[in-house]
Every structure is written in C-alpha cells, then in structure tokens.
C-alpha cells in the first residue's frame, strides 16, 4: 500500500507541474480533488462498512471445504461462484485458493475460482454499484460469469491434455 501511495504521490506531483505549465489550473485541480473526495467520502466509508460486513458474513471455511475436492465441470461451476463469495483482498484470498489447490481441487476449479474472485468478487460490489450504478454492476457481473466458466473449462481441458 505504501508503494501505491508513493506511485500516486509521484503521479500527482507530475500532473501538478504539467498543469502549472500548460494551463495554470493546478490549484483549481487540487480544489476539485478535495471537493470530490469530500463528496465521495461518505460513500467510500459506507462501502468499507459494507465490504467488511460481507467479508465476515461469508463462511470462508465452508467455501474452502466445498471446493477442496471438486474437479471437472461441477468444480468449474462451483469455483466461479466460490470466487464471487471470496470477498477479500489478494493477501487473504490467495492463501485460501492455495489450500483449495493443495486439497486436491482440479486446475479448472482453481482457475475459475481465481477468475471468479477477480471479476465477480463481492468485495468490489459496493464500489462498483456506488460509482457506476446498480444496473452496471449487474450487467458486468452477468457478462463476467461466462468468462469465468470458459476460463475454468479451458484450464480443465489443458489439465486433461497434460496429464
């Protein structure tokens, strides 16, 4: 997180000087940024609360046990929706996915699980619906499901070919 903050600080500084040179509106940019942060802060804080509650309400052990021995088409399907339920950041989600892999789940299950987590992960839902609307969130989720299933299916086929 420190690295990301440092990267953004560098970008902000560069953009500040570009604006100073190009249009002299760098201070206006700072004011707009501050105003937008102020306006958005209640939403972001609300989304943090929502994401925190989603994270504690989803039984991670259940997802883990549910997927650990799954392979084949059923595994791909369950992996996609299991990924959606892993409402957490990569530091928490990847060790869980690793334990699902270690428990004997198929490659298709694991790939659909990672893709489902990346595209459908419920922790993103509060932010997605806040900034782009509920309809956008639903459309994006519906569009993402076939991609997760296809990714799982491709990995499963590859697994069959390799072994």
């Amino acid at each position: 997180m420190l690295l990301t903050t440092a990267i953004f600080s560098g970008i902000a500084l560069v953009l500040f000087f570009i604006n100073k040179k190009e249009n002299g509106k760098q201070v206006e940019g700072l004011k707009i940024g501050a105003r937008q942060l102020w306006q958005t802060l209640p939403l972001i804080l609300g989304a943090f609360i929502l994401a925190g509650m989603i994270e504690v309400l989803i039984p991670v052990e259940f997802v883990k046990n549910w997927l650990s021995t799954e392979a084949g088409l059923k595994g791909i399907f369950l992996g996609t929706f299991g990924g959606m339920l892993l409402a957490m950041g990569p530091y928490a989600a990847f060790p869980i996915i690793a334990s699902v892999l270690a428990s004997g789940a198929g490659l298709g299950t694991v790939v659909s699980l990672i893709t489902g987590w990346a595209l459908l992960g419920l922790s993103k839902a509060p932010f997605e619906s806040t900034f782009f609307g509920l309809k956008f969130f639903l459309y994006k989720s519906i569009l993402s499901i076939p991609f997760c299933l296809a990714a799982g299916l491709a990995a499963h086929t590859l697994d069959l070919l390799l072994n």
Binding site: E22, Q36, I49, V56, L57, L119, T130, A151
Partner: protein
C-alpha cells in the same frame, strides 16, 4: 450520489442486522473493525489519488480526450485501455472513482469496460503475489487463459452498447 448513499446505508444496516443475528455483537464488531482498518490504511492513498483525479480533471479537456480517442479508438483503444487497467495501482476504492471521472469526461463505455476488466484480470502488481501464494504454474496458466477476456469484453461492449454512456445509466437510476 444521494441515492447511492441511501442504498449503501440500507444495505449496510441489513448486513449489520444479519451479522448480529448470525454471530452476535462480536461478529458485527469484527466486520466494523475490518472496515475501520481498511479505512485507516487507505486514507493517505485516498487523499493522494483524489489529488490525481483533480489534476486529471483540469488537464483532460473534452478536446484533448476527443483527440486521443480519435487516435486510439476501436481495438487500439481497447488494447491500450485494458493494459492501462492492468498497470493501474490500488484497490477498488481508487480505480472506480478514477474510472468514474473518465466516464464523466465522456470516455466511451467500451473503453471503460476494457479498463475495468483489464484491472480485474491483469493487475500486474498482483501476479507475483498470485505466483508465490498460490502456485507459479497455476498463475501462468490462469494469466494466459484469461489474457483475452478484457479485449473480448471491450469488443462486446462496443458492439452491444456502442452509444451507451455511464451518465445516461446513472440518470435513469435517478442519480
């Protein structure tokens, strides 16, 4: 924004009540602690990223964006946008406000879709973590298999929602 805030507040209250019923006050507190910890950890990053958003707001005029889109529209725009998403740092509380700023400036819907799918699928800063915490072979296979997803999503969005804009959608939802 007021409607979004209302929806978030209602959803939060419902989930808090469910947590209270399922696991008592302890579970509610754990959820709130997680939220507080994320808020504290990301506060500085939020301030800095909104400084970037503000500077971009004055830098990217409609004319500049139109010129850029004239040069990089279609498949080229989708590719660049998907890669930009992959390299874009930060969590959802950073890239969604950023993408919304671009949407407000008139960025086409399909370019935004490519950006968001690029961020979700590629996220190049996440790959070392995926390789080390899950498995390097699995991470590589996953990346190769999903490589085309942001491009296909962008193309699909271009074909299906060519004239759609996020502003119109939000207006229809009463924002």
């Amino acid at each position: 924004m007021k409607k979004s805030l209302l929806v978030i507040a209602i959803a939060s209250i419902i989930l808090v009540l469910i947590a209270k019923l399922v696991g008592g006050s302890g579970l509610v507190l754990t959820g709130l602690e997680k939220a507080w910890s994320t808020a504290v950890q990301s506060f500085l990053m939020l301030v800095v990223s909104f400084m970037v958003i503000g500077q971009l707001h004055v830098l990217l005029t409609k004319e500049k964006l139109d010129k850029w889109l004239g040069k990089y529209s279609g498949i080229k725009g989708i590719l660049i946008s998907a890669l930009a998403g992959g390299f874009f740092p930060g969590g959802p509380y950073i890239y969604y406000p950023f993408a919304r700023t671009l949407a407000d400036k008139g960025m086409p819907f399909y370019i935004l879709i490519a950006f968001l799918f690029g961020k979700n699928i590629y996220d190049f800063s996440r790959i070392p973590m995926e390789a080390s915490l899950v498995d390097p072979k699995v991470a590589l296979i996953r990346l190769l298999i999903t490589l085309l997803i942001p491009i296909i999503s962008g193309l699909l969005a271009k074909r299906l929602f060519e004239h759609r804009s996020v502003e119109d959608d939000l207006a229809r939802e009463g924002e």
